[in-house]
Symmetry: C2
Subunit: 327 residues, 2 copies
């Protein structure tokens, strides 16, 4: 399916080095790519001991170049953005010192609106003069990865890891295929797709019900949701709302996909969504990217998404309340 592509051989910078950014950066680094990490939390231990990846595939350790400031990290040819979307207001500060007008920025963040935030940030920090030009530097990706950060320099990778890439504006280019080839060379299943909207909405098909209900329905992991007849019904009906919202955004999701995802989720057992874990650990939630922006796009298109709206209203309130309480 994938034609032979030249791999991308440039200077790669990782910003937002959490469970996702570290995992992909480490895989690429381990395969010999030139990967540099901007490290906010645990800089000393990462510099001294490197990153330990405890993986269902193969454990490994890397000792890559790490930086405590983006100014020290310097200019990159490719930037991997692994930031949680609620931290997008730091993007101008993060991208300014490491991007030129030729840098490719690949965001593996969840949900909708991140590419737009990156384009705005690139204009704000002066890398580009307008968002249209900035947008052409951006690639979006969806990562299907079960990994957790268990220590500042340690990742536990329990399942999956495949990535789908698509240009933010326009169709796949040589660079898109080259980056995918690099991921594959690093042992990551990676495919290039024509439509970024399609891969974003396909991932939301799972993320909206299971992240949303995981928080709204009182610590409900996937098994709790799927073993409760009302929550099961809600999850499947939310998936149909997501399909309708996607359709209004030009994306036709295979009608068989919801049932297929439910089946795959059933065998995952008591899996906690990233949003549920964030909530349990008192961290802010990616509520706007995963719930708010999809709801707004549906509303703009005049599509009724009443259950998604309820999830958004409830989870947003829970997130704000939690932050206020300072838990």
């Amino acid at each position: 399916m994938h034609g032979p592509s030249e791999v991308f051989r440039g200077r790669i910078g990782v910003v937002g080095a959490g469970a996702l950014g570290i995992f992909y950066g480490a895989k690429l680094s381990s395969a010999g790519f030139d990967v540099h990490f901007y490290v906010r939390t645990g800089y000393e231990v990462v510099r001294n001991e490197g990153y330990k990846i405890n993986s269902c595939d193969r454990d490994f350790v890397i000792k890559p170049p790490v930086y405590h400031s983006v100014e020290e990290m310097g200019l990159c040819d490719l930037v991997l953005v692994g930031l949680k979307s609620f931290a997008n207001d730091t993007l101008p500060y993060l991208l300014g010192p490491i991007c030129t007008s030729r840098t490719v920025v690949l965001t593996l963040q969840n949900g909708l609106g991140n590419e737009e935030a990156i384009a705005r940030a690139m204009v704000q920090c002066g890398v580009q003069s307008n968002e249209a030009d900035a947008s052409r530097q951006i690639i979006g990706g969806t990562a299907f990865l079960c990994s957790n950060r268990v220590a500042p320099n340690e990742i536990c990778h329990t399942a999956h890891g495949f990535v789908r890439l698509a240009e933010f504006r326009g169709t796949p280019q040589a660079r898109t295929h080259a980056i995918a080839a690099s991921f594959r060379a690093a042992g990551i299943d990676c495919e290039v797709r024509e439509s970024l909207s399609a891969i974003r909405w396909e991932k939301l098909l799972w993320n909206i019900p299971f992240n949303g209900l995981g928080v709204a329905a009182h610590h409900a992991d996937t098994a709790a949701i799927l073993s409760d007849d009302e929550l099961y019904r809600a999850a499947t009906e939310i998936m149909e709302e997501v399909r309708a919202a996607a359709r209004a955004d030009g994306v036709e999701i295979d009608p068989a996909l919801p049932a297929d995802l439910i089946k795959k989720t059933l065998v995952m057992g008591a899996y906690k969504s990233s949003m549920q874990i964030d909530y349990e650990q008192g961290r802010p939630l990616e509520v706007e990217a995963i719930l708010g922006e999809p709801v707004r796009r549906a509303r703009q298109a005049g599509i009724a998404v009443p259950k998604m709206e309820m999830l958004y209203a409830i989870v947003r309130r829970m997130d704000r309340q939690r932050q206020q309480e300072g838990v």
Copy 2:
């Protein structure tokens, strides 16, 4: 508006003597009616000290006859049911020893399905041989009352108290008007209405959004709901779903009522719904009467109530989870 009616002068028994049952029973008792209380919690203190009603209208104390068993209480002409609806499975035990086939049972419980549960209970305990006959003994009422039980024998009444009564089956009778007249004689604003469904759905118009969101949206009192644009929107849209469900049940709710209720709720300040208080105090929730049964009736009628369904799914899960945790 109310024609002169003879007041009801029989033996009145109160079962489910919580914040609501105690308040109305005490008002009637204080006005000289023959009211007997079945007391589960705090029997000794109630027997020794009576009930203290700290009321926005007038503080008072009563020392009525109280019983620790329904067998001791004996047969009544009128039974006031103030039980929380989740305890309806105890109805056969409670009603059996105090009801004859001529006793009138007035339920002031919240939500839908309580009259049916009482009719079933009266057959189960042998008071009647069939539910149709039992149903003709039942009057339903909605109470608009802000009261809390602050000690086993102490009620804090902060606002309102008016009651609407309607026969469960058929139109108002002499007895309906007589009971209403007794309530009024006891200083309780009380009106007789033609349709029980109408008064139940009108109360649900407030109870479904504000009880449901009060629990689902993380300790959200009315001010928290109405000051959050997404929750405000959800509350008003839920009210339209309730109107649609009521319409399918033969009840046309005035289209101006939702906005009117919102306005009245705005001036209530940070008011906590009974369900929110129950949840915060670790008590079971009236989830089936207030959310489940309305959702089931809408579904049976083929009416879409997606936001009500979400509230039901989430609050039911929270209630079950809480009971499991034994909080």
